[in-house]
Symmetry: C2
């Protein structure tokens, strides 16, 4: 029995060490809540805001090079119940992309898939209204997946590589675990987890909250 | 080493048996999504809809004795941006209670706590508008906690008693774990987990979905 007790002791120690390591890490990943927004091509900027129009940066976002613009659009779907004031994010992209929450999707009566940004093939159609014109995208409306941006050092620290999926615990007003959280690693990225307003509101967390990767 | 291998084998078997038992249970708890709604006192019914007015049942809910009424109200808070069409649920109660999502709370600019139904002391104030009058509740607005109604047989099957808290996994479009889910046991209850629209939409589940209690 002695050997068994030793083994059990070793196993228990390993589990406790693991728990201590997790506790020491603590919730150290800052949350960025993504409200509904749109990325536009140069062509769609011109259609919506006028030929030759250029977007106006008003605020840098946490991820380097990304920014909020002064411009907003109205989006509308088969329900004919528009959502106004949808923020345009810059810089311009190669494909226009509308990111909404599932709550928004019910108002619009569109059925966007949960997708990684940029993965738009077969995503939902939506109509975008600007002050100088409108565009009906045959695809481009998605619910963004939960994801974490991180730089190389953070990726090494967590032992993950670009494209990995991790599990995250959010301890807010309603404690919640998020599975299938995609990790995006780039030298240009700053540590930040992006969730949409549904996830943030369901968990009772917001900008300024911190969450932790679960070592399962 | 032989003994250690036996012990490890036994431990592994135990874990696998546990997993198999969980898998056998499967997600067997039906989800009921609670949209924003209101419960009213007799007095508030009279103020909002007229002296002597009685609520009109239009649909029984899953929990015996509870029903949706034909009547709706408008609710409004400090933002002065009303939410219309808030369903009245019957029968009348001893205290009026408004249940909204955190998403709703941002539109209204109210700050409701996450509470069990009926636990209203110190909850948020809100104004309720009916066709014949209005009521400003000094308290009564909450975000309902996640909870599971179950009868006596189900409680015995899960090994829980009234007031216990359990953990629930929801495998929808966005896989999510809900902690701190309150169990409510009564001979009158039918097995059903109630979540609000934020939780349902964040997880990508709805009425007709099933979830499972996690045996941690």
């Amino acid at each position: 029995m002695e050997l068994n007790e030793q083994l059990i002791a070793a196993l228990v120690k390993k589990v406790i060490d693991g728990m201590a390591a997790n506790a020491a890490d603590g919730p150290d990943i800052p949350i960025g809540v993504s409200n509904r927004h749109i990325h536009l091509t140069v062509e769609d900027v011109h259609t919506l805001f006028g030929e030759g129009y250029e977007l106006t940066k008003v605020k840098d976002l946490r991820q380097p090079g990304q920014y909020a613009c002064r411009e907003t659009v109205t989006i509308i779907g088969p329900s004919m119940r528009p959502i106004e004031g949808v923020r345009v994010l810059g810089p311009v992209r190669r494909r226009s992309q509308v990111e909404i929450s599932r709550t928004d999707s019910y108002q619009l009566k569109v059925k966007p898939p949960v997708r990684e940004s940029g993965d738009l093939d077969g995503s939902a159609p939506i109509t975008v209204i600007g002050p100088r014109g409108s565009v009906t995208l045959s695809e481009g409306c998605i619910i963004a997946n939960r994801h974490i941006h991180m730089g190389l050092a953070d990726a090494a620290r967590y032992g993950v590589v670009d494209g990995d999926y991790v599990t995250v615990d959010a301890v807010g007003a309603k404690r919640t675990r998020w599975y299938d959280v995609q990790v995006r690693v780039s030298a240009d990225f700053v540590l930040e987890m992006h969730v949409d307003t549904d996830d943030a509101n369901a968990a009772g967390i917001g900008n300024g909250s911190f969450v932790s990767i679960v070592n399962e």
